[in-house]
Every structure is written in structure tokens, then in C-alpha cells.
């Protein structure tokens, strides 16, 4: 049986770790890094001319500028666009470009988002803006594409998945008065990649537009 093909979009973690984890679980993995700005309908076909059809897209594209801590009042409009608007627009363009493949394969698209999307992040307003938009993109795609057999989900990860140690610690402290009940944050390579893998299986075909929080219990919304 041919290996299923996953496209991982984004540089650094969590994209890198999830790519390793999916490869370990038998996926053929292609990568698209942060510097791919101009998404068109044939971007995927152009970048991977001899590829297998894509069964899974994992989006974790938050370029380095977006991950930088800054007070909103200190940002220029150019800063804002680079940190918020461009990542959001690229995610929409990715979804648009990936539709044909995912429809053909009854595939799955998973958006990895930082905790600040749902919870807010002091000093990270642009990244939170892009990320919450992307989380809602996942829901909206599920409503549109579900009838075509395409799965669309968002997974909220703990702050360490996207930020450096100091910023992640500050965000964890701002969002919870307790340590994660799990006693640690989830492992991206094994645990998060496994959840993504499982979301592509028939066992989870009735799960539509899920917005999962995989953070070891750090934040328990709703």
C-alpha cells in the first residue's frame, strides 16, 4: 500500500517536530517553509511536481517576526502586516490551494495554533490575531468542506510549542494558576503527531470542525 502523503507548512517547531513524528508513523512528508509567501492555486503542484496526492495538510506557519514579543503601541503598520495579516492571508491561500488535492483524497487539514489564539497574549497581539483567525478558518472550512469528505480541525498547543522558554513561561503563568495536570506539556513528535495521525482515520470521520486543546490541561476553557 502506498504511503500517505502529508504536507507540513511552517518552519521550526511545532512543524519540525510533527513532521518527524508523522514520518515515524509511516507518512511520506513534504515540507513548505515560512518563506513561501505567494500562494496560488498551483503552488503545491509547482513545488512538488512529482508528488503523490496530498492526504493531509498540517499548518503551523508563524514566521519568526510573528513570534516576537512587542507591545502593540510599539509596532509600525508594516510590523503589524508582517506579524498578523501576512500569516493569516497565507493560511487562507494555503487552504484555497490545497482544496483540490484534499477533495480528491477525502483528506484532512489540521491547523496548529498557539494558546494565545483563544486566550489572548500580552505582547503577542499580532500572532494571536492571526492564530484565532486561523482557528476560525478551520471551523469554517469544516462547515464548507465536510460534505466533500474533507476533515478540518484546529489543535491548540501549549505556549512552549511556539515561543521561547521565557515567553512561554510568562504566558503559562498568565493563563493558569496551576501546573499542567499531566505534569508536563505534551510531546510534539510523539503525542501531538499521533493525534494528528488519528484524526485522518475512519475512526474519527464523524469528528467535524474540532477545536482540540492539547496542552496537558494547562488551560481548560468552556
Amino acid at each position: 500500500m502506498a504511503r500517505r502523503h502529508a504536507l507540513i507548512v511552517g518552519s521550526g517547531d511545532p512543524a519540525d517536530a510533527v513532521a518527524v513524528g508523522l514520518e515515524a508513523r509511516g507518512w511520506a512528508v513534504s515540507r513548505m517553509a515560512d518563506d513561501t509567501l505567494e500562494w496560488t492555486d498551483d503552488t503545491v503542484a509547482t513545488r512538488f511536481p512529482d508528488r503523490d496526492p496530498i492526504d493531509l495538510v498540517v499548518h503551523a506557519r508563524y514566521p519568526a517576526p510573528a513570534r516576537r514579543r512587542s507591545a502593540l503601541v510599539e509596532l509600525s503598520t508594516e510590523d503589524w502586516c508582517r506579524r498578523a495579516d501576512e500569516p493569516l492571508e497565507a493560511a487562507v491561500r494555503l487552504a484555497r490551494a490545497a482544496h483540490a488535492d484534499l477533495a480528491a483524497s477525502s483528506g484532512t487539514i489540521v491547523f496548529l495554533v498557539p494558546l494565545m489564539a483563544s486566550a489572548g497574549g500580552e505582547g503577542f497581539a499580532p500572532m494571536a490575531t492571526a492564530a484565532e483567525g486561523i482557528r476560525l478558518l478551520a471551523k469554517s472550512l469544516a462547515k464548507t468542506w465536510g460534505a466533500e469528505g474533507i476533515g478540518s480541525h484546529a489543535i491548540t498547543l501549549d505556549p512552549t510549542a511556539f515561543l521561547d522558554e521565557a515567553d512561554a513561561a510568562g504566558m503559562a503563568e498568565a493563563n493558569s494558576l496551576h501546573d499542567p495536570p499531566l505534569g508536563r506539556v505534551p510531546d510534539l513528535t510523539n503525542e501531538v503527531a499521533t493525534i494528528i495521525d488519528e484524526l485522518t482515520t475512519d475512526d474519527f470521520s464523524s469528528l467535524i470542525g474540532a477545536s482540540l486543546v492539547v496542552d496537558g490541561g494547562l488551560w481548560m476553557p468552556g
Binding site: T77, D85, H99, A100, M116, G121, T129, G133, A142
Partner: protein
Amino acid sequence: MSTDASHTPPPPTPPLAVVDGLLAGRVAIVTGAGQGVGEGIAASMASAGATVLLAARRAETGEPAAARIRDAGGAAEFVRCDVTVRADVDAAVAAAVEGHGRLDVMVHNAVSPPGPPRPIQEIDDETIALQIATSTTASFHCAQAAFPHLRADYGSLILLTSPAGIEGSGHLPLYGTVKGAQRGLLKSLAREWGPAGVRVNAIAPVAWTPAMDVATEANPTLEARLRGRTPLQRIGDPADDIGPVAVFLASPLSRHMTGQTLAVDGGRYLGL
């Protein structure tokens, strides 16, 4: 049981809350105030005593809207403003501060029309860029330009989002995306600006707007279906239903609220 609400009389509606004087002495800017929800919020804030600058891209809607408020006894003026242009937003803020000495409330309501229902793969580049510009870039412009003045006296930033920005939208996926993005911004700014005494909240309305008029005209069953799925069985009025909630969020009555999104929709979307 029939879900057709067109034959069902709407339930009794209580009289409007009295908000006279609640915003006396305060100065507000409302973007996209030439019609619909923006005009309704501007009218409501003016009736509560605020001086309101109606920021709109087109004078042919903004001027008459301001005149209607003045005719009703309110203090209102039109300022031309394309919220995607930073200089326009700066000029609107300057008009408030130089003309009235302060700015206490910034309401970002302007939105690019989402257009007809389309799946994401059929949305063109221009529409994507415009929707993002009016929702997120413009929110940034309004927030940053207003902040130095809002912090002077416990001011308030109010963003108009949508139920689509909370539960997503199959019909308007891009609209759901950009409206969700605004909620990421408001929660972050609530954290960032709380220590300065500036509150940041949002309203997710379902109301009669020019866009709703167009939608119901194109789809004659829409109103009855929407009413049938709304516990209060009517679609909100911009001035009488949405405006007073904006007044509440702008006033000291909500002084311990920040980072919240209030669904003002007759109960249409429960469990958000």
C-alpha cells in the same frame, strides 16, 4: 412542529433602557457609521450624551447619518475616514482630540461587504486582501491611534465582530476567519491594556443592516427562518438593540469587564 415563524407574532418586547446622560462629557468615534449597526451605535451613544464622530468612507452616507443624529438632539459630526489608511484614522482621532479635547471611546465597526456566499477556494486575491485590511489592519490602526487618549481617562475600545467569528461560517468562510481574528486581538489587548485602565470588548450582533436587507430580499424565506431559530423571535434593531449594549460597554457600568465578546442576537447563537 412548524419552524416557520412568519405567522407567529413576536413576543412582547420591553421598553428601551434609559441611558440618558450615561456618556455625558465623553467623546466617541464610530467607524462605518454611515449606516446599519455603526449608525445605530452612534445614535445610541449620542442619545446617552456623548459627542460622536461618525467616521465613514463616503460622505454621502456619513453626512446624512450625522445630520439625523443632530436632528434628534444629539451631538454628532461626520469625519471622512477609510479605516485601511492609517493617515485617515489618525486624522479622525485628531479631529476628536483637537475639536473636543478628548477621546474616550473608539468603536471599530467598519467592514468590507463579505459578498455572496462562496467556498474559500472560489474567493479571489483582492477579496482576501480587502477583508483582512478592513478587519485586522484597520483594528490595529484604530486601536493604536486611539490608545494614548483612551488611557487618559479609563477609555474603551469596542470591536464589532460576528457570531461567524465564534462558530465559523460555512457560507462566508473568509468573513468568519477575519471576524475570529478580531477576537484574538481583543483578548490580547485586554491583557495588554488592562493595567492602563483601558478596556477592550466586542459585540457580535445579529441585526437589521443594509447587508441583511439585501440578503432577505434575495432570499425571501431567510427572515422567517432566522426568526424561527431565534428565541426572542426577531432580528435586532441597530439603534434600539445593539446601540445600548455599546453604550453599556463604553460606560462605567461595565468597568469590570474586559476581553469579552457579547452576542447581541436575540439568543440566536447559544453556547458560544
